[in-house]
Amino acid sequence: MKPSLAVSIADSWLDARRSIAEIVETLPVEPLPQKLLAHFTVINYRTEIAPLFDHFKRPWGAVTERQRSEKGVLYNLEFEGVDDKRRSMPMRLWLLPEATVAVLITVCSNRDWRQGVKRLLDALYPKVYSPFLSQVALRTLFDGMGSALKPHLSMRLTRVSSVRRLLQTRSRKRFESEVTWTDIDVKSAFEAALEEKSFFKNLAFEVCEPDERADVVRSEGTAGVASRDAHFAVNKNVRWLYRSAVAPLLDEARDRSVFLRGRGRADSPRPDGVRAIAARFTGNFRVTTEELPQLTAILRRYPDASVSILHANPYLDASVVDMRDGSSIELLLASENQMLLLPGLRATESALNRICRFLYEQVGEAHFADARS
């Protein structure tokens, strides 16, 4: 069978005989054909990652080895697409030195990424997790991408999937989400979100250049997608995306893993207290006593976990057992502007990342930092 265009491009581009450094240095500038995008998915891992790939087999897909050399391995991700047909996708795994951060590099359509790579990552949780990006971090990355463009070019968002938290309303829903197909410049989109107190989940962007004929812009040909779960993809100018977005994202991921690691009380017995995380609410966001019932209702719906409310008025104390890896984390809201996450005997990086993401999404805009003792 003739390999698809995506496979042949990926094969030559991600060849196992080339080291990752070579690949990154020679990232193409020219456009990819059809609807293909070069995807960078940044992940954090907790155990040796290569064995996870070597033995990965599920009813919907599997990872096999396509090509191996002393410089690296080119994997093949087989999966079932939406049309129930088996597809395969070459995939290169880049392990960052001296960090538990990896990047999955693939060439495929956005839909295939969701059907293949996203599913693979979900299946590897909690050994692998995506470091989620706060709205502020996402904005910083986009600012970086914009400023790395030639001065006459600008970035515009064409699709915005955003979420607004509803904790402080009497709504029965926890959040309100919408997808907008639009054409808006990045700065105003982020400012509007700040105004509306919403945050972005996924974005599609385009690079535009001024049109000589009128005071309008037209597409320069570069288009891509970005998500809060540390995933960036583009169809052209891959080198630009790598340098301006992926590289800074790697630092963020590295910091995240250092921040979350070793917080369980069994991992690091400390005589002077627990390694608690403080979720400091930013902006004007506060949780008042009147909102506690709403907050308890939200916490009770934390998926794959057992949540016991130990105290609900006038302060909130909840014990959470993550049923995906047996981590226990106690949540204490004893002041208006921050929530403490007190790790139990076992508190894995993935579980902490998951609950931080949940609190960020459903409770309020927060900044996560070490709680001072």
């Binding site: 299946a123 949780y125 909690p126 369980g264 009380r265 069994a266 400390r270 002077d272 207290g273 627990v274 608690a276 006593t289 009770r300 794959d304 976990a305 057992s306 949540v307 016991s308 409310i309 130990l310 105290h311 006038p314 302060y315 014990s319 057992v321 993550d322 049923m323 995906r324 890896d325 047996g326 981590s327 226990s328 106690e330 204490l332 004893a334 002041s335 208006e336 921050q338 403490l340 007190l342 139990g344 005997l345 076992r346 894995t348 709680a371 001072r372 003792s373």
Partner: protein, 367 residues
């Protein structure tokens, strides 16, 4: 059987007592001049202290040798009955004798230069406690030799939750703390939780649902290998034909782990055992009754770990309280309404007629 609300209140008051005690220990341990935790403290909370006529186990016993020592008893709700109050009075007198012994005499060297006893009670009970002890003092039944103080405590729900401590009666050592507590001290609950490992149990017996919740939510999940959770859960369940994750452990082991990880032993590993073995054993027995555990050989138990409905605390409260859920309609008891009711036998039917096969309905003729 207590009601759910009563049980919840009991847990709350137990946890508050732990907070009050740890807040007072936190405060007494703080070195005002150095602005850090005093070094060389001896934590003997719940440990046996000899007073001459026998021994006592004060909830709080903190010594900074050779300078000062404080003994204390936490009676958050004081006592409403005279007998109960007399018991507290006698206990405090025994502590006073311990304090005196700490100062040394001809036979033994002094441990500290000054020592005091404290009654730690809730803010709402401080006046009653003071009135009672004053009356006893006048009557000559309560005459402590060493300084004695009542420290009142409360959890104050301001914008931030604080543990409020104030000396409301008598005097305390060291002097600097006596003065500080006289002017009231507020310890932020968050601060208390961050700077100490979670002390969930003190010398007094914990309420059963609380003991079970700590066991279920904090200890047991950490003992089950991480990869038995999550995706493999279903496979394992099939293997074990149990429908849940399994773990085998002995009562003694569980009790030891609870004490080492969640009791005052975090401050001093040589402290006596709390929760007590019989309490942990009772907790395991309850798990067996509810089908969450199985008694194995000897003192071993097999526990089927799973997510409990509405969270563990809620589950245990429901099991241990008198309030039951609304009884559900049992489908077995209710027969389905028959679609074709049998003919009522009370109606006279011609036996000949009934023997005939039922006539098929004929379409009504058009004319």
């Amino acid at each position: 059987m207590p009601s759910r609300a009563e049980l919840f209140k009991e847990i709350d008051s137990y946890r508050d007592t732990v907070y009050f005690l740890t807040a007072l220990i936190h405060e007494l341990s703080w070195d005002e001049t150095q602005k850090k935790k005093t070094s060389g403290l001896s934590n003997e909370h719940g440990a046996e202290q000899i007073y001459g006529g026998g021994s006592v186990t004060p909830d709080l016993a903190l010594l900074k040798c050779p300078e000062w020592g404080v003994l204390g008893e936490a009676k958050t709700s004081f006592s409403k009955s005279n007998a109960g109050r007399d018991k507290i009075r006698d206990q405090l007198l025994k502590y006073d004798a311990v304090a005196t012994r700490w100062l040394g005499d001809d036979k033994r060297p002094a441990r500290v230069k000054e020592a005091a006893c404290v009654l730690l009670t809730h803010m709402s009970r401080k006046v009653e406690a003071a009135d009672y002890l004053d009356a006893e003092r006048t009557a000559g039944r309560f005459q402590p030799v060493r300084p004695f103080a009542i420290v009142a405590a409360a959890r104050i729900p301001q914008v931030d939750v604080f543990i409020h401590l104030e000396k409301s009666y008598g005097s305390l050592v060291p002097r600097i703390k006596d003065e500080k507590l006289r002017k009231t001290v507020q310890v932020k609950l968050e601060q208390l939780r961050v700077s100490h490992d979670p002390v969930h149990f003190y010398d007094s017996s914990p309420p059963m649902p609380w003991l079970l919740t700590v066991l279920w939510d904090e200890l047991l999940p950490s003992l089950i290998p991480e990869n038995e959770f999550g995706e493999r859960k279903r496979e394992l369940a099939v293997q074990k034909q149990a429908g849940y994750l399994g773990i085998e452990l002995s009562v003694d082991d569980a009790a030891a782990k609870l004490r080492d990880r969640f009791s005052m032993r975090l401050l001093n590993p040589n402290l006596p055992e709390s929760p007590r073995l019989k309490e942990v054993e009772a907790a395991f027995q309850l798990l067996v009754t509810w089908g969450l555990a199985k008694k194995l050989e000897g003192r071993e138990f097999g526990i089927g770990y799973k997510k409990l409905r509405n969270g563990s605390l809620d589950y245990f409260l429901k099991k241990l309280s008198s309030d039951k859920e609304e009884p559900r309609l049992k489908t077995k008891d209710k027969k389905q309404i028959p679609l074709f009711p049998e003919p009522d036998s009370s109606i006279d039917i011609d036996p000949k007629e009934s023997a005939k096969p039922a006539k098929a309905l004929k379409p009504r003729s058009k004319n």
